[in-house]
């Protein structure tokens, strides 16, 4: 069977997802287009060869609506013969894009694909696409919809993660991200974003807070108390009746940051590499997406990773580095517990708590980040996974070649 290989990847720095964020003035199409252009230029890619541009985007309305990937490819100057499609598996979108691209290559239906994702959270607000998922009473009732933060707090309650434990996790994420930036470990893959007159408007992740301490985080108020009091705690407890009360321990400081950003990845066959003179960096060894209990929403990654490993004939011991999206600190901590792995090999350069989580792009970013780190450490395998809304998760295993 043909294999799918990763040849290159780029990401933008992540700007604060607010009106004062550096990337706020950059339209999401331009944001995505700049990564597509960078990917092309770095590999001297003949874009006419590209089978498709698949980008994840979680709030595909307004600026991000109406098939942004096709527009981004055209704006980036890709050959007009390259189509584009937008996919949405909520937070797993950017990873699902990589998997979908790999699938076409493995199936022999394309020689090279561009996968990636984009989210300009400062311009297109989370949930602004409405969605039956959140607002249709019949749907929310039947799926026991409860906002994610309550699910994260419930995980912390069930697993016994205290506020201090979560904050300690967050401080370490910040420390690792700041350290990696300092050491220049992100430099080779982060492409600065330029404004309309060509000036660099953002070159570094804005959300990272180097030197952030436990005392700093302790000042933050729990984020989901009012949401819980609005009725969601009662709804959740009726579904998890062994819980007396939900401890609201997640804050803006130990949850993923709201940011703008985009990423792109070049996925192709061995033949494409040979013909283009490019060296494959990693093989996409396997992937899987699955549903889990939709109300708590965030517990999918562990069980999914076990299933994926089993299907690939692997065990957790065969994985050198892990990337779990830091949607909330409890999600990463639950994942480490599920996999029985320690923090020394998980999110080694920090995660979304420090750098932010541009919803549709994060999955691609995680693959790229861990691939760079595998190479830096000269290790071989990594498993990347994200929990996704409505009780889903996506996971991918890569191995260097």
């Amino acid at each position: 069977m043909t294999s799918a290989f990763i040849y290159d990847h780029v990401r933008t720095p992540r700007g604060k997802g607010r009106p004062d964020g550096a990337l706020h003035e950059i339209t999401p199409t331009r944001l995505a287009a700049q990564t597509l252009a960078a990917l092309r230029d770095r590999s001297r890619l003949d874009t006419a060869l590209v089978g498709d541009v698949i980008l994840g985007c979680v709030t595909p309305v307004g600026d991000q609506g109406a098939n942004l990937p096709r527009m981004a490819a055209l704006v980036a100057g890709y050959d007009q013969g390259v189509p584009g499609q937008q996919i949405n598996r909520f937070c797993g979108s950017g990873l699902e894009a990589v998997n979908a691209a790999a699938a076409q290559v493995i199936a022999g239906q394309a020689e090279v694909m561009v996968a990636g994702g984009v989210e300009s959270m400062s311009r297109v607000q989370m949930f602004s696409d409405g969605g039956a998922c959140y607002t249709d009473p019949d749907v929310t009732w039947n799926t026991h919809y409860v906002p994610q933060g309550i699910g994260a707090d419930l995980i912390a309650t069930m697993d016994g993660y205290t506020r201090d434990m979560l904050d300690a996790y967050a401080v370490e994420s910040q420390r690792r991200a700041a350290h990696a930036w300092e050491q220049g470990w992100f430099d080779r893959s982060v492409v600065p974003v330029r404004d309309v007159i060509g000036d660099v408007i953002c070159a570094r992740d804005e959300h990272v807070r180097p030197g952030c301490s436990m005392a700093d985080l302790a000042k933050l108020k729990p984020a989901f108390v009012a949401t819980g009091d609005a009725g969601y705690d009662a709804v959740m407890i009726s579904r998890y009746p062994r819980i007396e009360t939900i401890n609201h321990v997640h804050t803006g400081g130990n949850s993923s940051g709201i940011v703008d950003g985009a990423a792109a990845m070049l996925v192709g066959s061995a033949g494409f590499g040979r013909d283009s003179g490019l060296r494959p960096r990693a093989r996409v060894r396997g992937w899987m997406s699955a549903g889990s209990e939709p109300s708590i929403m965030l517990t999918g990654p562990g069980p999914l990773a076990h299933r994926l490993l089993a299907r690939c004939g692997m065990t957790p011991k065969d994985i050198d580095l892990w990337e779990i999206n830091e949607a909330f600190a409890a999600v990463a901590m639950r994942f480490m517990r599920d996999m029985d792995v320690g923090p020394e090999c998980v999110n080694v350069n920090g995660g979304a708590i420090a750098m932010g989580h541009p919803l549709g792009a994060t999955g691609t970013m995680l693959v790229g980040t861990v691939l760079d780190e595998l190479e830096r450490r000269n290790l071989n395998t990594a498993l990347i996974t994200l929990c996704a809304a409505a009780g889903m998760a996506t996971a991918t295993i890569i191995e260097r070649v």
Binding site: G130, Y145, G231, A234, V235, I237
Partner: protein, 718 residues
Amino acid sequence: MNTLKLEVDADGIALVTIDLPGRPMNVLATELIADLGLMLDEVVARVDVRGVVICSGKSNGFIAGGDLKELVEAHDRGWTPQRGVECVWELSSLFRRLETCGKPVAAAMNGLALGGGLELALACHYRVLADDPKAVVGLPEVTIGLLPGAGGTQRLSRLIGIEKALPLILGGDHVKPAVAAKLGIVHALAPLADVVATARRWLLESPDPVQPWDKKGFRVPGGAGCLAPQASQSFMLGTAGVRGRYLDNYPAPKAILSAVFEGTQLPIDRGLAVEAKYFGRLLVDPVARNIMRTTFINRTAANKLVRRPAAVPKSAVRRLGILGAGTMGGGIAYCAASAGIDVVLLDATQENADRGKDYSRRILAKDLERGRTTADKMDALLARIHPVTRYEALDGCDLVIEAVFEDRAIKAGVTAKAEAVIAPDAIFASNTSTLMIGTLAEKSSRPANFIGMHFFSPVDKMPLVEVIVGKQTSDTALARALDLVGQLRKTPIVVNDGPAFYTTRVFCTYVDEGLQMLADGVEPALIENAARNAGMPIGPLAVLDETTQELRWKVILQAQADGLPVQFTHPAGREVLRALVEDHKRLGRRQGGGLYEYPAGAKKHLWPGIAAAFPAGADQPDVEDLKKRLLYVQALEAARCYEQGIVTEAADADLGSVLGVGYPTWTGGTLSFIDTVGIRPFVDECRRLAARWGARFEPSPWLVARAERGERFYPLPA
């Protein structure tokens, strides 16, 4: 047209006066609906009619709503949702025809317009409401398990916007005139005498026969659907709010949310059709039947003293004696004084008696602060309560209630002292919750005048009084006790004498089952949440803390001393209770803590010692099974009481359980629950529970025989 009158004046204004013969209030009975249709045909056909005013011929309001006596039978008649839709569509399509008839129609509301009454008004092109505090408008259908199915959800949402309409419909709120005008539910307020004139003036000066939602380019104020700015507030948080409160036992709030969400995205005609479909689903659901029958029909009948012996002349208590000025005595005193009754509140010391009066003072001070009473009214009420220590002060009392400690000797003492003073025909009532009236009456010199009146705590909030008829209690005593309940504006049930009567027996099975679950190794949070998921307002462990472990234990010891059957002396969970009281000294909330701890200034939480005292099993049972245990054990006890003749009417059993014990309203009460499950499946399930959890779930031969006959507690409608 029997139910309305149609008069056309020289200006071409048709005045339609609705006045249902033989009914105290106007309701949308079948006959009125038919007449409204005929009226509409006529005003449309007549060229001399240029506009219509609809008003009420009853001085007590416009239209009070639908006719529940018709609606309550839908489930029992085996109606399909389609049949339910047909039922409401007759009215809904009539209203639609009214608002599109081409002639302007104005509603002149002289008073309250609720449910179908407001829906009729909303289908008019203009609404004027009397500026009178009693002239409330609203869509209270949710409170009886339904939704406003004749356009209420659609028109109110289109009129004032979803964000304002939805909370009113979900809450079933009664809206006062000023608020109704401010929200835009009515166009104008007018003095009562001018409502018709105001409506007429609109018809003559600026009539418009087209509803806003029938005008081109209409948009729902504030938008509709997923992308409306108010969607997350209305539908996301709206759903969280009602679900957090009702959990999953009440289908009406969910149906209302869906009818509004889905219907407002459609043209009005399609929206009305969607609303009717959701209504049809609710109407044929047993939950609506249960809520309507118990909380409306049966409760109204009980409030009208349906169980009162008719031969005894009507009486009223003018002076009420209360022995014991504790929480119960103080509470009864407040209710009686509120009803205009003079109260002699007696206790052993003046200090205690005064403290009993303070109970009223505290409530009134709060009411005063919130503007619910005036200083004059407060003083007048307090002046009616006379705290005393001497029994002579009871002279002239028509009725005396003892609310002293649950101790036979103490009760006997106060009975004798009171009877020495009060008139020979005065009634003596005991507010005991457990002790048999017959045995207490043995200490009375006039056992025929001796009766049980079991009030619930807090008396000012709890609507139920369980009236217990002893073997020797006379019809006169029963009638006069019920007359007092009527004066107090509470809901009575009438039961026969026996250990712990009816409600206490049901209540005890609930808390005892909770204790037994601890003995079974069930985690305490799971017990409490199972109860809440079932619809109980408070978990068995939490409520036991309130009534106290100490009292429950004393009741068991008393039962032993009284030589009562093993059911009373060795209830489920007895060993857990004993250990709590004797080993762990967890006596109850008042005594410093029970199964919960009560940290000062913080929320109560489960006592951490439970884990060591009653270790949880490794495998926890399914919450559905626990819910069943808690609901079934109470229903079974009610059936036993029925079998033993303690309760003789299913309505009393249901009302007692819902109003006195907190048995969930969606069930209709303990015996309605059995009918809802179906008596055969109920008995089968009891046997399964008995095999798994103990013989207390074993159905009696009487119940089994009843099940075999398929005999319901409420016969099906003829």
